[in-house]
């Protein structure tokens, strides 16, 4: 049985009457879909290679192109979907684990879309953000709850280190290696201009980017790539990455072919060697080990920087978070199962972990039940798509949100979900110089700044509507939320009432 043919998923439709044979599509497509046939004076396409990233469609000067979903499907079957069947074919052919990228695309419920936000009417006034101050500044870090006075009765005003953000959003971890130099530069410059932070991911910090240190979260992951004293000292905060929403429980693998030049230097591993991040940290087999790593990082940074512990949202997340809070961490970052990734085994991405909305609600509640919510800040990620998702997350109990996919979209990503091929036509998830240069960091950072400014305006509008003029009065304010179409159990976990109640 050698026949292993899967009909292409997409169809490239070219309006020949419009095509001027400029061959832009041919030059732009790193997947080599388009080709010019000289003899026939015709553009032809090999659709089997198309990933539907829309690069050619966007650049075709005469709008001659469109890429549509192919209708050549297998016989319809509600149980055996086309995807299920094709994946079996692929694995029967290759014997390998299926790989995918970006977040879980399956039709699981998106709780953000089933939560509605309140507004003031009559009994209290809404506040106009154009006329009145509206504050979005947040401080992340351990606060504690008991105030101390010195022997003269004066307040002791010393707080553990805090991460100050002008708005409750940060760019989440994406390593140099998984994304390009230009993408990193765009993120770093935007974070600095905005007064927020971006995150190095587990690939180390490129020497050119140390100047953005005050707006950088440096990550320490299981492979410890690029970690040394200067690196830890460069950042505004240190993040220990235990897990990631797209692939809880497994490590990472950047193939040796991508470990070239700068990347090898930044990761501090030889060129051409695979960068393998083990699934667990081999010095953390239990919660007490985590405490030791937290404190060794604090020692190394002289207790001047908050330590973040990032975990994937898994079934027992409330207990895990409570353990992390007691391990000395200043901030807990939780990544939901819809979080993006540069590459993950498909089965894991699509089947492991839980939604961030539920994880956040139960962690926030648990920490309050235990009376330790003020000992730690909560940052959530794993598909925060808009300013209203941010507002809902804050009202459920988060201190801030991590965004990554939304930031990449601002940089031009078209969510084709093939980052793992390294052929990103938009210059983001690639290391090929000719592709990387397609992303101009001047434009990239400006677009990120625009996006965040737009969100900030919208957050203020939503807050003003609720009669709230400071983001801290929104945090954990679940009375401002109502559910629609959720069952009793879901409402109970989210800790909100149903609309109409």
């Amino acid at each position: 049985m050698g026949i292993n043919y899967i009909y292409p998923e997409f169809e490239v439709v070219r309006n020949d009457a419009r095509c001027i044979r400029c061959r832009v599509c041919e030059r732009q497509c790193s997947n080599q879909v388009h080709q010019y046939d000289k003899d026939l004076d015709l553009m032809i396409s090999d659709e089997s290679k198309c990933v539907n990233c829309k690069r050619c469609v966007s650049l075709c000067p005469t709008r001659a192109l469109k890429v549509v979903k192919s209708d050549c499907l297998l016989r319809e079957n509600a149980n055996w979907s086309n995807d299920n069947i094709n994946e079996v074919y692929k694995q029967a052919g290759s014997g390998g684990v299926l790989l995918s990228s970006m977040g879980n695309p399956k039709p699981f419920p998106v709780y953000w879309d089933k939560i509605l936000i309140n507004a003031s009417q009559v009994t209290n006034p809404s506040i106009d953000p154009l006329r009145e101050p509206m504050e979005t500044k947040v401080f992340l870090g351990k606060k504690g709850s008991d105030i101390k006075h010195d022997e003269n009765g004066k307040l002791i005003t010393k707080l553990p280190p805090q991460l100050e953000l002008s708005m409750p959003v940060m760019f989440s971890a994406m390593s140099y290696g998984s994304i390009s130099y230009n993408a990193h530069e765009s993120l770093a410059r935007a974070a600095t201009a905005l007064g927020i932070c971006y995150n190095t991911g587990e690939g180390g910090l490129h020497e050119d980017f140390y100047c953005y240190g005050p707006n950088t979260v440096v990550q320490v992951a299981s492979g410890r790539f690029g970690v040394f004293k200067d690196y830890l000292e460069a950042g505004a905060a240190v993040e220990i990455k235990i897990g990631q929403g797209a692939k809880p429980g497994i490590g990472g693998h950047l193939p040796g072919t991508k470990i070239v030049g700068d990347i090898s230097r930044t990761r501090m591993i030889p060129e051409g060697s695979d960068a393998i991040s083990p699934a667990p940290h081999h010095d953390i087999y239990s919660i007490e080990d985590l405490r030791q790593l937290v404190f060794s990082l604090k020692e190394a940074t002289e207790y001047k920087k908050p330590v973040i512990v990032k975990v994937a949202a898994v079934h027992n997340i409330a207990a895990i978070a409570s353990g992390i809070a007691r391990s000395g961490a200043d901030i807990i970052a939780i990544d939901g199962y819809r979080g993006g990734t540069g590459a993950a085994p498909t089965r894991i991405r699509d089947n492991v972990g839980i939604p961030i909305e539920l994880a956040l609600a139960s962690v926030d509640k648990r920490l309050r039940d235990e009376g330790i919510r003020n000992d730690v800040s909560l940052v959530v990620g794993g598909s925060i798509r808009s300013s209203s998702d941010v507002v809902k997350a804050i009202a459920l109990g988060a201190d801030a949100c991590y965004i990554a996919t939304a930031a990449l979209l601002a940089l031009g990503c078209h969510l084709c979900r093939t980052c793992h091929t390294g052929l990103c036509n938009w210059g983001i998830a690639t290391q090929k110089p000719e592709l990387v240069k397609r992303l101009n960091p001047d434009i990239g950072s400006e677009r990120l700044i625009n996006l965040m400014n737009a969100w900030r305006h919208e957050i203020k509008e939503l807050m003003g509507g609720m009669g709230i003029n400071s983001i801290e009065a929104l945090r954990g304010n679940r009375l401002m939320l109502r559910g629609v179409g959720l069952n009793e159990k879901e409402l109970e976990i989210l800790g909100i009432s149903h609309a109409g109640e």
Binding site: S120, T123, N124, P125, I127, E132, P133, E135, K137, F139, K143, G144, S145, D146, I147, H149, L155, T157, K158, L159, Q162, R368, G371, R373, N374, G397, M466, G467, I468, N469, S470, E472, A473, L474, R475, G476, N477, R478, L479, M480
Partner: protein, 364 residues
Amino acid sequence: MRQLEGQIRIPSGCAISAVISRDGRRMTGEKIIESLKPMHDRSNGLGGGFAGYGIYPRYKDYYALHIFYNDDLCRTECESYLRTNFVIVQAEIIPVRKMPAITNEPLIYRYFAQPLPSMLMTWQLDEDDFVARAVMEINTHLEGSYVFSSGKNMGVFKAVGFPEDVGVYYKLDEYEAYSWTAHGRYPTNTPGWWGGAHPFSLLNYSIVHNGEISSYDANRRFIEMFGYKCTLQTDTEVIAYITDFLLRRQKLTLEETASTIAAPFWSTIERRPPEEREKLTYLRTIYSNLLITGPFSIIVGFEGGLMALNDRLKLRSMVVAEKDDKVLIASEEAAIRAMEPDAAHVYAPAGGEPVIVKVKDGAY
């Protein structure tokens, strides 16, 4: 079945007023009742109440517990709880004037009591903590019993009705206090339950409040981490607990408490001198969830003084005036004029600026 206060959250508008003598001179409740008459339209007959300080000189060392009971069965149950935890030196029905305007009365009792020393030992709590705990216990676990006043030498009197009637009903003309606060309520629903009226009080702190705070659930969920239970779902209740937490448990000053719950904007903080800036930043950061937003004007009563405070945008009216040794505070100037027609120095304090009035030391 219609839900009672506590099972649902009922927004309210309101009238507040207060009078205090800095010399500690006692005043009967007549004047404060007068103050509410011109503000009649700020209430809708669904709640009114008063707090008086210095009213129980004879029992000033005892906690005065004012309790509503649904019936005698509840009373028996609660009294047996009280007897196992307190020495009660006096138990009585709070005297009232029956009137057609006030109906549906619960049983209203008052007890002068001290915690049993053996109980303090067992729980390893100081007196105030013990009493606060007992109040939470009764209000959350003994159905049909509700402690609405628990301070020393002070008392809260409240009911469903117009406040001017409530004052007459409780015979406030027969009590003398160096400081009075009062409240008329305009709830949007019919709470039908006396416990929901204001002031709201815990130990010596009492709160009257006008407004609907938009930060309610953020404040509630934070303060509940520290052993408080918000059973009424009202703003006033949560503000009372915050006040108790900051003033009594964290030992903040009144000014510091005001800068926590009505914290200045960051832009204002940045312009302050370094030492003050550091303190304001500290308070706003450590207790960021105790920032109260949305409209409010509150008067906090405590032993020997009052503090009036507006939200930082001043979204609710509140004026202050003086007359001799007295300071008068109310939602409207008309209310002040009703108490003292020629009161002077009438002014409206700025949003977030606390007005703190204290009785001379030793005069209360």
